[in-house]
Amino acid sequence: MLVSIYRYNPEVDDAPYMKDYQIDLPAGKDLMVLDVLNLLKAQDPSISYRRSCREGVCGSDGMNMSGKNGLACITPVSEAAKKGKLVLRPLPGLPVVRDLVVDMGQFYKQYEKIRPYLLNDTPVPAIERLQSPEEREKLDGLYECILCACCSTACPSFWWNPDKFVGPSGLLQAYRFLADSRDTATQERLGELDDPFSVFRCHGIMNCVNVCPKGLNPTKAIGNIRTMLLQRAT
């Protein structure tokens, strides 16, 4: 099979380029894209990419496979390859450090901005802050985000304004804390999101939903934030 990989080593190359590799895949087996990369790395040790858990939990190997963002470790080659060719590029929109490794700084900065931790100004209870099963249920579909950045880097609004638009991943997390019954800073959090960029740069094109490897729905979370902002202001 033909695998085309985005190559760029800023210390050596003037500009990024695509390099083609031929590889024989074992018959009768559908490898994951990460397996193919590992085989290629044995062929050409200079190929760089991030990987860790190799089972879709850590979110390290987010990349663009034949035009669609996803985790290389849980994307079968049969699904990612188009017309017998597999094209691997780094996540779009973020600065490339080397080959398929991107600088996630901007992405984490937006995550940090929404204060992704519980804020509670009531006295600390002796054991724990209790939640009813119904209250806990509200966090389902939100807490599972692994911050792989597949969604935010598939979002044109994030491409054009990565410094101002929080992005689907950050907003999913923002709603996770807005919806948490144990968090008492809801109004303060909403106040920080009521500008024309942080939330409202989302135009609902749902690229994020389309690529999320965990099957989450950031667009729905953003809709819920909008509803909360509306309820607060009308």
Binding site: S157, N161, K164, D194, D195, P196, S198, F200, L230
Partner: protein, 115 residues
Amino acid sequence: MVTQITNFGRSGLYDWMMQRVSAVVLALYTVFIIGYLLMHPDLTFDQWSALFETTWMRIFSLMMLLSIGMHSWIGLWSVSTDYIKPTGIRFFFQALCGLLMFVYIVWGIQVLWGL
């Protein structure tokens, strides 16, 4: 919180709501005009000007004009902040849009009232 002073209403929520409200007005106006034209296949100038003589039609048309101004300002402001990165050019583009919209609204009022 991202500070902005060139958007329509300072708050993202306000812009978002006005964008939707104006869209509803524009949709209603479009449906009405298309419906009116379909119901009057042999439309004469007298019928057309009689329609625009009525107060309710002038109110409806003025609402539509103001909605176009708001809707296009919010939309083009978004486009300019997405795609035009140099501040000077972006501000010039936004100022030009603002001026054009103001001209269209004043001109539209003149046309509507036959001033």
